[in-house]
């Protein structure tokens, strides 16, 4: 038994609130691991990813879900992916690295980000106040994501369902990000 115990805390302490037409909650168990495709060995990395997740590597700017729907792969850049999955313990990177067996360079990004899920019929109206992206279903379908900036904060927005979005932003400014999203909801609800 160690002398000291480290208790984890999420950037927003597990925030969750129902605003009526919009619900907002922090996704505390969402793990993010980045995978970089080695130069000249992209095909091998692609094959390893396909083997590990059962889906083809998505094209840059698009996302894909693993066969068992446990992971979502966001192709952020030609040589970079984010792998999102539920994983509470601080060994997400090791878990992915083991499945890729050195075919890609992996980095744990979980603690660098805060994840918010905004859902409900009013979520597009709220997001309209901070998100410069066109969220019309024709322009931004389920599964689509994009890197953008909201209230001066770099962020990633992913449409996980018709009326549900996952918002990722830096964990150090999580409080400001939450304030921005909450204000948008309050200003529209």
């Amino acid at each position: 038994m160690p002398d000291f115990v480290l208790t984890p805390s999420s950037p927003l302490g597990g925030f969750s609130r129902d605003f009526g037409p919009v619900r907002l909650r922090e996704l505390t168990d969402l793990a993010i691991v980045s995978a970089a495709l080695p130069l000249g060995a992209e095909d091998a990395a692609g094959a390893a990813l396909k083997k590990a997740f059962g889906c083809a590597v998505p094209e840059p700017g698009t996302s894909a879900q693993s066969k068992d729907r446990r992971e979502r792969l966001l192709r952020l850049a030609p040589d970079q992916l984010f792998i999102l999955f539920d994983h509470a313990t601080p060994d997400a990177e090791a878990a992915i690295a083991a499945r890729l067996d050195g075919a890609a360079y992996t980095t744990d990004q979980t603690d660098g980000w805060v994840a918010l899920e905004i859902t409900g019929p009013g979520c597009c109206a709220a997001l309209e106040r901070i998100c410069p992206i066109d969220l019309h279903p024709k322009a931004f379908a389920v599964g689509q994501f994009v890197r953008t900036s909201m209230e001066h904060l770099g962020s990633i927005i992913l449409r996980s369902d018709e009326d549900t979005f996952v918002l990722l932003s830096a964990s150090s400014s999580a409080g400001s990000f939450l304030h921005a999203v909450e204000t948008s909801i309050r200003n529209t609800c």
Binding site: D79, G112, S172
Partner: protein, 983 residues
């Protein structure tokens, strides 16, 4: 009935809803659907304000956003808003408004005396007057001018309203919901396009609501309501009333201001206004046209109004703008005002038309005067009668003036497009160069008649719809007929001897324009600035074209030769609060918190902003009298035993790839190819021009895996620069970067007991002995029974020191654990001040030294520039100017009298030299009180510093007016041999 001038029936107001309001303290009543202007007029109120310069009595001139005269202060207390146009202020129950720009009452303005001095106050008078005596300027003239300037008054309190911003996207943005706009939006909406239609008015319909036209065999008013109703039900259409599209910007983006609660007595929690950025694939500008007046003697009296406005008050608001109305028009449209008034039983005394020929309309009861002009008017606080060119007088309490209509081309010019002159309508129309994606429809394009405007909007929308790949709807074009609209230009009644106002808002007369031209201001742009014509809230919407026609006439040039001034955003005023949006107070920018912020808050920390970060600056303890006590204690305790500092803010860049070492070799000045796994190295980066850029340590965690640290300030810049280098300079290297700054909570654990403390936290299988984990070692460890962590043996303080990193989720807990484990050693948390003191004591360069002007040689780091390889900035760092052997060197300074403090920013002068720029030897960059030495110490750059150890110079600070004698010493004040950090 709400006021003596309200007609018994008619209008688009809700007569069942009566609203009470106050103007200058007097209670009045209006109806839902009124503007403040229409309600004032209904109450028989003609005088509503005083003019800017001459304090002339002024009334309501228009019905829209072009209003130059009827500016009022709306609301009270902190909500007070000056210079609001009464013509666009929607009436609500309880509205309070006050008139502006008078001393004493509106009726008896003491400042009206300035009108008597008007010959002295001509164009550019303030450039000519107040010239002597010179000493009067600051004390007398300027305060006097300032107190007279401006119209309304600010509350001088914080704006209590909320504002918001937002982003909208569409296939087609329709700007204006008049006949052309509604026809366009309906056609595009029916075809399935994503449409946004915005109008500044609260009621869609534009001029249809002011006229008695028919469309599709129904009244124009009903047609507009039906069209708007249909648009409101379409999922693909967003109908935005009370929304002004005020600017056309790059790439099809438009600024739009939505006034959400200005029509409500209490906004509640809702934002008052929203500033939208609309991104549109295409836009149709259907902004309509603005009527222009004719300049003649004393044409600014209350009661003189635009003819179209008189018609709007009549038809839309059920208000007669006067009881005996005369009409002065050079075009057929003005006649419809006369005919409309007569038809509703309002007395029309005369129709005065300078043109000859048969009357375009029947006006029962009115004198018809063709070939005549108005030269003067009378009536002190409101029009009483007018004088014609033949000397005869006509009684009238309202004169409806029409000089023709100017298409609202403003937004077509926001990207430097120039309008073109159209002789047929005697007005400017949009030129050939429009903002990309914009087309213009209806009156804004010079299609001034109804059927033409409807067809224009309908057809243009259908062609845009086809162009973006949709099938145009088969719905037919709305049917209407074209009204008569002939015109013969008349800008200024030359026979007038009296002052003829061109720009009412800025009190610019035709005479001022002539004078300006005579004084050499011949370009319209110069004319504008010299006379102030076309400035302020209305931006000369009713004045500009007349002014340049008068200038053209005086210059003997044509109007197109004379040209227009540039139209710039905003089209109508936008409150600064709306531009700021939510970015005020603490929300001005995001705040980044360190992982131990919560712990620090509970343990006496004072925070300092470093960029967006809030960092603990020091941790005060009870009994400490000031920050110095806390900082001195933190330094002493750390050097004596152990201190802990959250250093998460330093940038961390995860670098992976087979060629990562080669990449580091390119970006750092020193050698990186042979750094073993498990080791850290200090590195220096140069800018391309050879100046020192950033420094930090990089650790090799694995064969192809490094973690770089950067300074806090440059974390983002270095990352961006490395991405550029990776992608553009060396794209063939296998190297991948990702930020890890926020992912790891990192703590410096420094002091002789650092190892002893960490041994209690790091799991026991990791050997921390000096042999197993020496200075500059690094590696992955586990802490507190298996939590992953990274340990680096590096030292900024000069002590035996480590930095330990854990996933950020454990950061706050880790700070507590380190303190708990350190209790037996009297461990202290320390902040950025103690961190700074210790780095100065150790002689480490930081931001003050790496200031973008200094070289590696200046910093004494020239040994770090490898001779055997190239790196960014190496070649240019070898320029002769940068290798001057007599140049600046970083050294330490101590006061000769140890009791004296030092100041950063002081410049070094030889003891016997005068303190001048020529004798400047260098400057002090960083100073601190050193608790270790018991006196102040400093770092600084001085010429030939390394060769001048022991020399005494003066550190002079002319800005603060002091001077200290200092001795040049080694910059390593504490443990120069580095024994402690290797212990």
């Amino acid at each position: 009935m709400s006021g003596p001038w309200r007609l018994p029936s008619g209008g688009l107001i809700d007569r069942d809803t009566t609203l009470g309001f106050r103007f200058d303290g007097r209670g009045m009543r209006g109806h839902a659907g009124d503007t403040l202007a229409s309600a004032l007029l209904a109450n028989g109120r003609r005088l509503v304000g005083r003019s800017f310069k001459y304090h002339r009595p002024r009334g309501i001139f228009t019905t829209g956003s072009e209003e130059p005269n009827a500016l009022v202060q709306l609301r009270s207390g902190a909500h007070q808003e000056p210079n609001t146009r009464a013509t666009v202020a929607e009436l609500f129950d309880g509205l309070t408004a006050t008139s502006q720009n008078h001393r004493g009452s509106l009726e008896h303005d003491l400042m009206a005396v300035t009108d008597l001095f008007s010959p002295l106050l001509s164009a550019g008078f303030y450039y000519k007057t107040f010239m002597w005596p010179q000493s009067f300027w600051e004390k007398v003239y300027e305060p006097m001018i300032r107190s007279s300037a401006g119209l309304g008054r600010l509350s001088m309190q914080d704006d209590p309203d909320r504002y918001d911003k937002g982003y909208l996207h569409c296939d087609l943005l329709v700007i204006g919901a008049g006949p052309a706009g509604l026809a366009a939006a309906r056609a595009a909406g029916r075809a399935g396009a994503r449409v946004i239609i915005a109008d500044e008015d609260f009621l869609p319909g534009g001029r249809l609501n002011s006229e008695t036209f028919e469309v599709d065999d129904t009244s124009g008013v009903d047609w507009a309501a039906q069209a708007a109703g249909e648009l409101a039900t379409m999922d693909n259409v967003r109908l935005m009333t009370r929304t002004t599209v005020w600017g056309a910007f790059d790439h099809g983006s438009y600024g739009a201001l939505e006034r959400c609660t200005d029509h409500l007595a209490d906004a509640g929690e809702r934002p008052r206004q929203i500033l939208w950025r609309v991104t549109a694939r295409r836009a149709i500008l259907a902004a309509g046209a603005t009527e222009r007046p004719i300049a003649f003697g004393n044409n600014d009296r209350p009661g003189v109004m635009l003819a179209g406005a008189v018609r709007t008050y009549l038809n839309r608001y059920g208000v007669a703008a006067g009881q005996r109305v005369a009409v002065f028009t050079n075009n057929d449209d003005g006649w419809r005002t006369a005919a409309g008034l007569a038809a509703r039983g309002v007395g029309v005394s005369a129709v005065i038309d300078p043109r000859d020929g048969p009357a375009p309309a029947e006006v029962p009861g009115a004198r018809i005067l063709r070939g005549a002009q108005v030269v003067d008017t009378r009536g002190r606080k409101g029009l009483r009668d007018l004088q014609l060119s033949d000397g005869s007088r006509i009684e009238a309490d309202c004169l409806a003036v029409s000089g023709g209509w100017n298409p609202n081309v403003h937004l077509t010019c926001h990207q430097r497009g120039r309008p073109a002159w159209n002789e047929d309508i005697a007005a400017f129309v949009p030129g050939d160069t429009l903002p990309p994606g914009m087309t213009v429809a209806g009156a804004a394009r010079g299609q001034l008649t109804l059927a033409a405007a409807l067809k224009d909007g309908h057809d243009l929308a259908n062609s845009i719809v086809a162009d973006i790949g949709l099938a145009p709807s088969k719905a037919p074009l709305p049917r209407a007929s074209d009204e008569r609209s002939d015109i013969a230009p008349l800008w200024h009644v030359g026979a007038s001897r009296k002052r003829a106002w061109v720009d009412m808002q800025n009190d610019v007369t035709a005479k001022d324009i002539h004078l300006a031209r005579r004084e050499g201001f011949r370009s319209v742009e110069l004319l504008k600035r010299y006379t102030t014509l076309g400035m302020a809230t209305d931006q000369g919407k009713t004045a500009n074209v007349n002014a340049l026609a008068i200038l053209a006439d005086a210059s003997g040039k044509s109007i197109p030769e004379t040209g227009t001034t540039i139209f710039r955003p905003p089209y109508t005023p936008v409150a600064l609060g709306a531009l700021a949006g939510r970015s005020r107070g603490q929300n001005f920018r995001p705040v980044r918190l360190t992982p131990s912020h919560e712990w620090a808050s509970k343990n006496g920390a004072t925070f300092v902003e470093t960029g967006n970060w809030l960092r603990a600056q020091w941790y005060a303890r009870p009994g400490e009298k000031g920050w110095r006590d806390s900082v001195d204690r933190e330094v002493e305790m750390t050097r004596k035993s152990v201190g802990i500092c959250d250093v998460t803010t330093l940038g961390k860049i995860d670098i992976q790839g087979k060629d990562a070492a080669e990449f580091l070799n390119h970006v750092y000045t020193n050698a990186w190819l042979k750094l073993p796994i498990g080791k850290v190295r200090y590195g220096l980066m140069l800018r391309e021009d050879g100046i020192a850029y950033d420094d930090g340590t990089t650790a090799r965690l694995d064969e192809n895996h490094y973690v770089m640290t950067t300074t806090t300030a440059n974390a983002v810049l270095v990352f961006r620069r490395l991405e550029f280098a990776r992608q553009c300079l060396w794209p063939r290297l296998d190297v991948h970067l990702i930020s890890a700054t926020d992912g790891w909570a990192q703590f410096a654990v420094a002091g002789p007991n650092a190892r002893n403390l960490l041994r209690k936290v790091v799991d026991s299988e990791h050997d921390l002995s000096n042999e197993a984990f020496p200075f500059m070692a690094c590696g992955s460890v586990t802490v507190c029974g298996g939590t992953p962590a990274r340990l680096f043996r590096i030292s900024f303080s000069g002590e035996l020191a480590y930095e330990i990193a854990v996933p950020t989720r454990y950061g706050n807990a880790m700070m507590g654990v380190l303190m708990e484990a350190g209790r037996e050693f009297d461990a202290v948390p320390y902040g950025t001040e103690a961190l700074g003191v210790m780095r100065i004591e150790k002689g480490h360069a930081a931001g003050n030294e790496l200031n973008g002007q200094t070289t590696a040689l200046n910093l004494g780091l020239d040994g770090l520039i490898s001779k055997s390889k190239d790196c960014i900035g190496k070649v240019l760092s070898q320029r002769p100017e940068m290798s001057d052997p007599d140049g600046l060197r970083l050294v330490g300074f101590v006061p000769v009298d140890p009791s004296q403090p030092l100041q950063a920013g002081a410049h070094f002068i030889d003891t016997d030299a005068e303190a001048t720029m020529d004798n400047d030897q260098g400057w002090m960059t960083s100073v601190a009180y050193s608790p270790s030495l018991g006196h102040h110490i400093g770092l600084g750059f001085i010429r030939r510093g390394k060769d001048r150890m022991g020399d005494v110079v003066r550190a002079t600070n002319p800005v603060r007016g002091n001077e200290v004698k200092v001795k040049i010493v080694s910059p390593h004040f504490v443990d120069p041999a580095g024994e402690r950090l290797r212990a």
